[in-house]
């Protein structure tokens, strides 16, 4: 890996980390979800700064090329993130459904009370 490429990756990582932190500070991203991305960024940064470790590790695991190892790890992380996102979406849609139903019942009770008051 050329030095230029390593510097580029490192800069990209630092920018991404700053962006994630800014999203959190502007309350557009919850802290608990930011940790996922920050871990990924730190991992990428470390592998750009110390490529020998990555090459050694990929060799130990039996990958023919370090690039394949990185692709594999990247794909795996993205799939894990995508799965966790669908879990979060499912949980939220359940919560929205419960809230909608409860709200409808509360509004019904409120209208009933107003009606009886109106009659009296």
């Amino acid at each position: 890996m050329s030095v230029t490429l390593r510097i580029c990756i490192a800069i990209f990582c630092i920018l991404l980390a700053f962006y994630v932190i800014r999203l959190v500070s502007r309350r557009r991203l919850l802290l608990k979800y930011s940790l996922l991305w920050l871990t990924l960024v730190v991992g990428l940064l470390l592998s750009a700064l110390f490529p020998d470790c990555v090459i050694l590790l990929s060799g130990l695991l039996g990958f023919e090329m370090a690039a394949n190892f990185i692709f594999f790890i990247g794909l795996f992380c993205l799939m894990a993130i995508a799965l966790s996102l669908t879990v979060i979406v499912s949980r939220q849609s359940q919560k929205i459904s419960v809230l909608t139903q409860r709200l409808a019942i509360v509004e019904y009770c409120q209208d009933k009370r107003q009606d009886t008051r109106g009659d009296a």
């Binding site: 909608t100 139903q101 509004e107 019904y108």
Partner: protein, 243 residues
């Protein structure tokens, strides 16, 4: 307590009428239920047509969902309503005019005689009336087969939306009801928890207005999803029993 007004030995029954864009049929449906002598609640599932305003104009009680949840969410809202107001039995009765209020007494009686979940079936006997298209009947046979083999329950009309629930089923469905295409899956869940499920023959009509919730293009998705849902519901039951 209005002791004289209501026979206290009789269970309190609520008819749940889910309605999504049923402006043509809803008033007639409600009138038929009222004529049969039952309490009812229309669950307006975020309709985009005049369903809500028509109900308000005609003095129909409406549980108005502020946004569309789908048939499962609407029916679940009805079960929650029945639970909140202490009903003993609730009956799901479509807002599109498919179901016939003549059968309300019989389906309520079936729950009174010990069923937790009573299902009005088009296929139990040759009752005549509307039994849907050939392809739909093939689909229903497949779902019946799945329920018999995986959930160990014999149901001739698994997709019927004409159903009555006793207290146990109301409590179960108020907390836990599938979102879309809910009927077959909820049968599997109820059977897995040991609820008593019975069927009775009913006659259904063709829809008075509106559009069916299941178009032709969605049928394949429907079959795959419901089959998977039955399998998962049955597996969940086995896992619980194994623990």
């Amino acid at each position: 307590m209005q002791q004289g007004k209501r026979d206290m030995s009789r269970p309190r029954v609520l008819v749940i009428i889910p309605a999504y864009n049923e402006q043509e049929s809803i008033v007639d449906v409600v009138r038929s239920v009222v004529a049969a002598g039952y309490d009812y609640i229309v669950v307006n599932d975020g309709s985009s047509d005049a369903t809500l305003s028509i109900c308000r104009e005609n003095g129909i009680s409406v549980l108005n969902l502020p946004q569309n949840l789908g048939i499962g969410g609407a029916v679940q809202a009805g079960h929650r309503f029945a639970q909140t107001f202490g009903y003993d039995i609730d009956v799901q009765f479509d807002g599109d005019g498919q179901h016939d209020a003549r059968f309300l007494d019989a389906i309520v009686a079936l729950v009174e005689s010990g069923a937790d979940l009573a299902i009005g079936s088009r296929f139990l006997e040759e009752t005549g009336g509307f039994t849907s298209t050939f392809m739909r009947r093939v689909g229903k046979s497949w779902l019946s087969w799945c329920l018999r083999h995986f959930a160990h329950i014999s149901v001739s009309d698994p997709t019927s939306g004409f159903r009555a629930c006793g207290r146990r089923a109301i409590d179960l469905f108020a907390d836990n009801y599938p979102i879309d295409y809910p009927e077959p899956e909820s049968i599997a869940v109820a059977a897995g928890l040991g609820l008593t499920i019975r069927e009775m023959p009913v006659v259904m009509h063709e829809r008075q207005g509106g559009v069916s919730s299941i178009g032709f293009a969605a049928s394949a998705y429907y079959m795959v999803k419901v089959t998977l849902a039955i399998l998962i519901a049955a597996m969940g039951h086995t896992a619980r029993r194994g623990r």
